[in-house]
Amino acid sequence: MKKVEENLTYEKAYAELERIMRDLQDDKVSVDELTGKVKRAVVLITFCNDMLRSTEAEVGALVKKLGI
């Protein structure tokens, strides 16, 4: 799993996710960027889940559940 930046917060992660979602829905993302964006979304969500629960095992299980 790719590491996230040090100063990432819930707010920033959420805002970035919203941006990714909007961009994807507005068809602003080129096919080259698409995979990168989706990967980034997964990183952000994993980061948040990790932070919310702070236990690696649970995050692992969640990631598995999400099928990421």
Binding site: L17, E18, L24, A41, I45, C48, L52
Partner: protein, 460 residues
Amino acid sequence: MEERKIYTLRQVGTAIKQRIEEATHGASFWIKAEIASINVGRHAYLELVQHQDGEKVAVMRGAIWMTALNRIREELGNESRNILKDGVEILFLAKTNYHLVYGLSLVIEAIDLSFNISELERRKRETIAKLKEEGLYDRNRFIPLPMVVQRIALVASKGTAAYADFMKHLEHNEHGYLFHVHLFNSAVQGATAAQELCAALASIDPDRFDAVVLIRGGGSKLDLEPYNDLDLARMAAQMRIPVLTGIGHDVDISVLDLIAHGHHKTPTAVADFIVDRMLYFETGMMGMLIHIHNAMLTSFSDRKDQLSTFKEMVAMRPTALCRAQRGNLHTYTGQFARSITDRIATSSKMLDAHGRDLAVLPRNKLILLEAARIREQSTALSGIAQRGFQLLLGKLQGMDDAVQFLSPEKLLQRGFSITRKDGCAVKDASNLQPGDQLETTFAQGKAWSTINTIVPHEKG
């Protein structure tokens, strides 16, 4: 010396007692006074005081006898500890009592709680007005509450049920969320509560927390007093992070509740709010993940369609291009042919024009003269040629006559003959030998002979 009348103390006391009883007729009065101190045993003994401009202007002893004390306690319910304490102003029904040994005191029969409640409400209103005046009333409400409240500065009294309930709800939330709670311990009731709460708030580093939570277990209306404190409200209003409260119940809204970012009925309600907020955040995030996933699939599918369209285009394009080029070529050829024809026509016209121009030019006279000369010469030449031709013709006629005269037939008729040996005319006798057969042709007929003698050729 005049005889002096001397009274005993008892006589004086009795006289005063009589006078007082005559004046009051044993009636009871509603009196307002502050409890300077109170000593509760089987009976309660109080020191009552009236202040004006910070000065004591009246002091009197008071007493509540056991029977009245029990009744009053029952009437006040759980507020009795907030009323029967030092510093509280009360409205009470009392009789004056002058005891010969203990002196004057007010015997309290009843206490009006509504006076204290309305006093509390009046003070609350004053405090709220003051906060509004200072621009602090709405201040904390305008600070945005983080989407996730995870690092909590908890202002509570350790060991209370409120604290235990709050922690239990956070720690055992069904979603497995983890919270970082730091307790800032403080008394939540009693004389020092407001001060301790202020000190607790002052020691919170806002950079380390998402929110401040103040909780307290259920209590009476007057128990809320510390949370109505003006200084506490000011401090809370000026906190850089949102303040959440879970103090008291529905009907008991404290000043702190009003200035807080959000207030909840109980400590557990605050805890649930915080957990629910986290759940809301996570649900929103998962919702977005689903949207992103769907958008990704749609995008891929759209692109696949685009790709197949491109593929078709790629296949069709060269054919179409060739067709177009062929068309162009045809058009260009036509255009070229037309342009050549046009060009020739134009040039031809130009030549004609030039010819006409030449004809009309003055210098053409020279040309005409030259032409006339050429014509004359041509005529002359033609005459010479004609004469030359006639001459040549005459010569030819002469030659023809000579040819006629020298023909073999004419020579034979004139007596000449031709001698041949083996078909070839014999011109030199030295080529012959005696015995050779000779053929002689005459003008009329032939004769064959054999050579007998040969005479070689004689010169001259």
